[in-house]
Symmetry: C2
Subunit: 278 residues, 2 copies
């Protein structure tokens, strides 16, 4: 099975792909459009892409692709803790470091640790967390790098501090994309997208009412522009049901009737509730 992800190896995306399917043949892609298009063209079987981060919100490229694609469905979800590690060339001491490499977002998420334990070092931007480890190893300075443990494993670096990010509850939710979704397990999630005709305000309220009447838990709501004009949105909802269950069928039928455009993005096994940390 060929599994695509947002490369290079040693990023949190590769960690998510590996967690989802350790046996798969991993294929790295340079961007979200290229990896999702490769699934659409069946050059690869599935891909694992980030859809939401607990600090930064939705990955809109992925949402917009799901709304647009006629071929691809969501077949799974999983969450990966964004635990930044400080890694060094084996044997190096933190006190001796002069430079620390990482992706700017990871540096921004580790401000407290950078200002205290690493106050004596200079922070330098790398193109990715994986590249940061390579930059560290090629540096003439006594250098460290911040990134996922998997990058240290792959590139042979030593982890000298763990979970150094400011917010302990930094998670990214990933989705598995395939040409079909999954059968009911009794513990499922369904993602849908819909639009309303312009001249009927209050329809979103009525749509949420269908979920309330059927005692269905809505986990998430997002709005994305339709591109038609400012103020017109596609709503995207994640809800705890399977589209083939009796209540699921009825709920989806009623939502479809209310909408001017409606699409099931997929039904798939629900991930476990995440622990709250810190």
């Amino acid at each position: 099975m060929k599994l695509g992800y947002l490369g290079p190896a040693g990023t949190y995306s590769e960690e998510a792909a590996y967690k989802y399917s350790p046996e798969a043949e991993m294929v790295a892609f340079a961007s979200i459009p290229t990896v999702v298009n490769a699934v659409e063209k069946r050059e690869i079987d599935q891909c694992v892409v980030p859809i939401e981060n607990s600090l930064h919100g939705a990955i809109t490229d992925v949402l917009d692709f799901l709304v647009r694609s006629d071929e691809i469905m969501i077949a799974g979800e999983l969450a990966v803790p964004i635990d930044h590690c400080l890694m060094v060339k084996p044997g190096t001491k933190i006190a001796d470091l002069t430079v620390v490499y990482s992706h700017p977002q990871s540096l921004g998420q580790s401000r407290i640790y950078l200002g205290t334990a690493l106050g004596h070092t200079q922070a330098v931007a790398s193109l990715s967390n994986a590249q940061a480890v390579i930059d560290m190893q090629e540096s003439d300075a006594v250098a460290g790098a911040i990134g996922p443990r998997r990058a240290a494993d792959i590139y042979g670096a030593e982890v000298v501090a763990e979970a150094i990010q400011d917010n302990p509850n930094n998670y990214t939710r990933f989705v598995v994309l395939d040409d079909k979704d999954r059968s009911p397990t009794g513990h499922d999630m369904t993602s849908v997208a819909f639009q309303f005709s312009e001249d009927e305000p209050g329809l979103l309220y009525k749509a949420l009412g269908v979920l309330t009447e059927n005692s269905i838990n809505m986990v998430k709501i997002e709005s994305r522009p339709t591109g038609e004009r400012l103020g017109r949105y596609t709503f995207m909802i994640d809800m705890e049901l399977h589209r083939m269950d009796p209540v699921g069928r009825e709920t989806i039928e009623r939502l479809r009737e209310m909408s001017s455009w409606f699409k099931v993005l997929g039904s798939y096994p629900r991930m476990e509730e995440l622990p709250i940390r810190g």
Copy 2:
């Protein structure tokens, strides 16, 4: 009056600032965080920042700042059409161009025109639409640039084609930020943000029900992560009321009672409905 915007001069942000207040003393800032912080510290009186684009959606940096800030409110809104122009050094013909400069987003929004009328040219990325005009003027090649008409006016370029973007309904909505919002005009918008306590699903439905009962039009709903954990959101709603009107007071009081956290982001004059083009 000192009015901040996302610079440099000749961008759509400067066009919005100029449209809002042609007499103001304009102050350019390099990023959204620096311009909003300058209003917060009262180094400038107001700023005009993008909050939403009709193709790309919310500008999340601005939403997150509004949720976080205790000092700043929304005092106005306006929409600016993102009409890309092709500009050249005066006297140059389109047929003779070999290179076209623009910001990668503007190039991406003008794919059809680039592939047809400019099929004989090479597209080159610039740091901003304003910088593209400078790059064009400094180029040794017979060069053009894509960007707002205002950039041509400022830098003395000639506009040879207008509205060359793929989608004619490309608008950006800007908000005016100040240390206070505005008095009722009878034609107002109010933006609020709120969170619910974790153990009460269906509260969003009840909240939207308050608007429906009071016949209040909800124009927009966004969800942003709270940062506490994956699956916890701050909801942001724009609705057609003023917080000082009788119905507005009652609506806001009821929403506040339902929420575990609630904030009025501002009441301000509503902009006119936009025409649909193309």
